[in-house]
Amino acid sequence: MNHRRITALLISLTAAASVTACGPSEDPLPGPTLPAPSTTRAFPARPKTISLKDVDPCQLLTDQQLEQLTYGKNRLPDKGSRLGEAQCSVGNDFGPMPRLGSLISLVISEDITTWLTPERQQGLEGTRQISIAGYPALEITGKLTKDDCQVVVDVADGQYLDVLAAPNHGRGASPEPYCVEAKRVAEMVMATLLAKQ
């Protein structure tokens, strides 16, 4: 009983200490433009923060960009499985082979670093740090399906852009061509996003 009380006291003390520690850092600093370095977040700094809240993922590839990708203009919106997530599916349905498709997801309820946790890593084949439009990003290949590739781009704390590319005719043999495609789509989406800022 005594031991429990001490533990409870210790927990409340730690909580109180962390609350006071958080206090001053939340004050807006007028001077520096660089984001305040977080002690818990081991991820490279991004050029500037882009909010994905209330952004329509189907507006992030222009008709010209879709043409460059040989995708059709049939953009299909959907809701994702994560809270507040918005998705848009685009792809080459009837154009020349090879036909590819991409799923653009805007995730606003999870930080990009979640992909580096052991729980998430268990389902993955590999994670590689890359850069998309100057923003830190991860190239992710899965264990269950070998013929697709995902690129996630760090745009804000607790928000990231997620592009998954996969074959849209037949099945593929390796993730490589889909990683190239996911990066290409992610670069274009970032170009549109940055132009809107």
Binding site: G72, S89, L124, T145, D148, N168, G170
Partner: protein
């Protein structure tokens, strides 16, 4: 008949494109690996049905999508033969698909 059928297959092929990429994306997040022997066996069966097996979800949906694409292309070829391309294109546009 040809224009409506062509537009239906085009629409369904696009819907399967979306569902397939959504399934692939969800498969990375589900994290069914709990480590204990029962979970490991459950995971093996789960993966087999979703991705590994010839009759897995991803394989069957991929084949269906390919079939719908082929049906659309065959109907579009027929539409050309019967001078029904314009009607087919407007049936596609009605469903938001640019030919």
């Amino acid at each position: 008949m040809i224009p409506v059928l062509a537009a239906t297959f085009a629409e369904q092929a696009a819907l399967l494109r979306k569902e397939l990429t959504k399934a692939r994306s969800a498969l990375r997040i589900r994290e069914p690996w709990l480590g204990d022997p029962v979970s490991v066996e459950a995971t093996r069966l789960f993966n087999k049905h979703l991705t590994d097996d010839e009759l897995s979800l991803v394989n069957v949906l991929s084949q269906l999508r390919d079939q719908y694409q082929a049906n659309y292309e065959a109907l579009m070829a027929a539409a050309k033969q019967y001078n029904m391309v314009e009607q087919t294109n407007s049936a596609l546009l009605e469903r938001g698909i640019t030919p």
